[in-house]
Symmetry: C2
C-alpha cells in the first residue's frame, strides 16, 4: 500500500467522485474558539466516503473479472457505495445483508441496482453464503476496509484535504477522522504524509468501541467486546485491519474517544452552522474538535457520512439545536 496507489485511484475517480468542499463558518469558529474546517464527505455520492473506495476497487478490476460481478457484506454505507460504483461501471453487484436490516437500507441498495441477498443472523453464516455465491458466479469480494484499492479510494479524500488546507492557509495541525476499521484514516494518513506532512491525522471513535485507540496505545491490534449499542453504527468494527493498523501506527497521533451525546451535539452544530446533515458516526470527528480540544490551533475534521434516519436526527435537534 503506497501513495502511488492513491494517486492512481484519484485518476480513476476523477469526474465521478464529488470533490467535496472543505466547509468553514465564522460562527462555528467562534463556538469552537479556533478555526475549524470540515471536509464534508456527507455530500459524497451515496452520502458517505464509502463510494470512493467502492469505485476505486471496482474500477481496478480487469474488465473480465469486473464483468462477472462483485459482492460485499454490508447493511450500510459500504453497501451503497459498492452498489452505485458497480452500476456505473456495468458490473453486477450482490450485497449480502442481514434480514433484520432496516427496510429503507435494503430498498436503497436495490434502487442502486444491486441484488440483495438476505441471511438470518441467528442461523446462517454470511461468510459461507458469500463463499458459495462467489464460487458459483465468480464474484469478487470487495472488503470494507482492509483492501489496498479500497484504502486507495478513501485516500483520495486526503489528497483533496491537502490541497484545500493549503488554499485555506493551514499547513500544520491535526486532521481528525471518524474511524471504524481504518480504511479512511489510513488512506488519508498516506496522502497527507506525501502531500501535507505538517498535518497529522488522528482517529476518532465512539466510547466503548475504541479498538483503534487502544490498538495504537498498546501497539497491538485490540478488539471491541461488542458490536452493538452505539448510535455510531457506521463506524463500529471488530478491530483495525492488518493493512490499516500498521499505517495508522506509523502515521497517526493518539486516538480520541467521544460519547454518543457529543456526537449528537456535533450533529446539531453542523445543522446550525454548516447546513450539512451528519449521521452520528460521521459527526464524531467534529465532536472531538468541539469538545476535546487540546489546543487552539486551526483544525480539520472529516465529516464522513450523513445517512441518518430522520427520528435520530430530529432527536439530536430537539435536544441540542
Amino acid at each position: 500500500m503506497n501513495i502511488e496507489k492513491i494517486r492512481a485511484a484519484a485518476r480513476r475517480l476523477d469526474g465521478h467522485a464529488v470533490r467535496t468542499p472543505l466547509l468553514n463558518a465564522p460562527l462555528l469558529d467562534a463556538e469552537a474558539g479556533r478555526r475549524v474546517f470540515v471536509k464534508a464527505e456527507c455530500l459524497q455520492k451515496t452520502g458517505s466516503f464509502k463510494y470512493r473506495g467502492g469505485r476505486s476497487a471496482v474500477s481496478a478490476l480487469d474488465p473480465e473479472t469486473r464483468a462477472q460481478g462483485v459482492i460485499a457484506f454490508s447493511s450500510g454505507n459500504h453497501a451503497q457505495g459498492v452498489a452505485l460504483a458497480a452500476r456505473e461501471l456495468g458490473a453486477p453487484a450482490v450485497i449480502v445483508m442481514p434480514s433484520d436490516a432496516p427496510a429503507l437500507k435494503i430498498a436503497n441498495t436495490k434502487a442502486l441496482g444491486a441484488e440483495v441477498v438476505l441471511y438470518d443472523r441467528a442461523k446462517e453464516d454470511r461468510a459461507e453464503i458469500g463463499a458459495r455465491l462467489s464460487g458459483e458466479r465468480g464474484l469478487t469480494l470487495i472488503k470494507p476496509f482492509d483492501e489496498p484499492e479500497v484504502i486507495a479510494g478513501q485516500g483520495t479524500t486526503g489528497l483533496e484535504i491537502a490541497a484545500q488546507a493549503r488554499a485555506a492557509g493551514v499547513e500544520e495541525g491535526e486532521v481528525l477522522v471518524c474511524c471504524g476499521g481504518g480504511g479512511l484514516t489510513s488512506g488519508i494518513a498516506l496522502a497527507l504524509e506525501a502531500e501535507a506532512p505538517g498535518l497529522r491525522p488522528r482517529p476518532v471513535e465512539p466510547e466503548g468501541f475504541d479498538d483503534v485507540a487502544r490498538s495504537l496505545a498498546t501497539g497491538a491490534i485490540q478488539s471491541n467486546d461488542r458490536l452493538t449499542g452505539s448510535l455510531c453504527d457506521a463506524i463500529i468494527t471488530q478491530s483495525p485491519g492488518e493493512i490499516t493498523f500498521p499505517i495508522m501506527q506509523r502515521l497517526c497521533g493518539p486516538g480520541i474517544v467521544v460519547t454518543d451525546e457529543e456526537a449528537l451535539r456535533a450533529m446539531a452544530v453542523a445543522f446550525t452552522r454548516l447546513k450539512v446533515v451528519l449521521e452520528p458516526g460521521g459527526a464524531v470527528a467534529l465532536a472531538a474538535a468541539l469538545y476535546h480540544a487540546e489546543d487552539k490551533r486551526d483544525i480539520i475534521v472529516v465529516a464522513s457520512g450523513g445517512n441518518v434516519d430522520a427520528p435520530v436526527y430530529r432527536d439530536a435537534l430537539a435536544r441540542f439545536a
Copy 2:
C-alpha cells in the same frame, strides 16, 4: 447592469465566496424521474447566497467610502451576508432590524461583528432611522436586491452553474431559482445568457406571494397584498425591483408557484437524498422540480439558503422524511 459587472464581482469574490457544489444523487433522480442538479448555496458562507451580493457590494466601494461603513435593513440572510462581508473587509456595519426579530438572528448578526439597531415596527419608520444614521455617520446603504453590485454578486452563482452544468453534460434546459425581489434570479439570468445560453432561468415563489410570476405574466410590476403568512419568509418581498424586473422579463421563463407544504416536502427530500439543510424559502426551486415537472429533461435548481429554525425543520422531517 451587464455581464462585465458579474465577471468583475467574480474576481473580487474569488478565494472568499465558497464555490458551492452542484449536487446530484441517483436516488433523487429516480424519485424525480429525471436528472436533478442542485446548486447548494446553503453551503455558502452565512448559509445563503446573500453573502455573494454583500461581499460584491462592499468590496466595490472606494476605500474611503467603505471605511465610513455600510448599513442594511434586514432581519434575515441579507443582514448576515452584509455583516460578514463588512467585517472581512474592515468596514463598520450597521444592521437595522425590527425589535421583534428572533433573538437568535439578532445574536448571530452581532456575532458577525455588526452593530444592530432595533426599531419598533409599529411606531417607527425604518427608512427614517436609516437616513438619519447614514447622514450622521456617512454610511452607505446596501440594498437587498435592486442594486447593480448586489445583482453582480448573486450573478456569480450563475457563472458557476454554467461551468458546472457543462461539466455534467447539461447544455440545455431550465434553471429554477428561488425568487424574492429578483436579485439572484436576474444575476443568474445575465450570467447564463452570456455563458450557457441553452439554460433558461425560471423564478419560483411561494403560493400567495407570487409577485414576480404575476409581473412576468402581465408585463408590469405587481405587488403582494401582504408580506407575512408564509413559511418561506426569506423570499417574501413587496415586488420585483426596477432593475431586476426588466432583466427577468427579457431572459426568464414563466414563474412557478409552490405551496408551503411542497417546500417542506422538498426539505425532507434534500435531507434524505442530498444531506444538505434547506430553509423553506431555499427549497421552493427543488419543490418545483419535484412536484411541478412539465417534462423529463435534466433540470438544475438553486437551493438558495439553509437558515431554518430547528422546530420548523423537525416538523418537515416528522411529516415528510
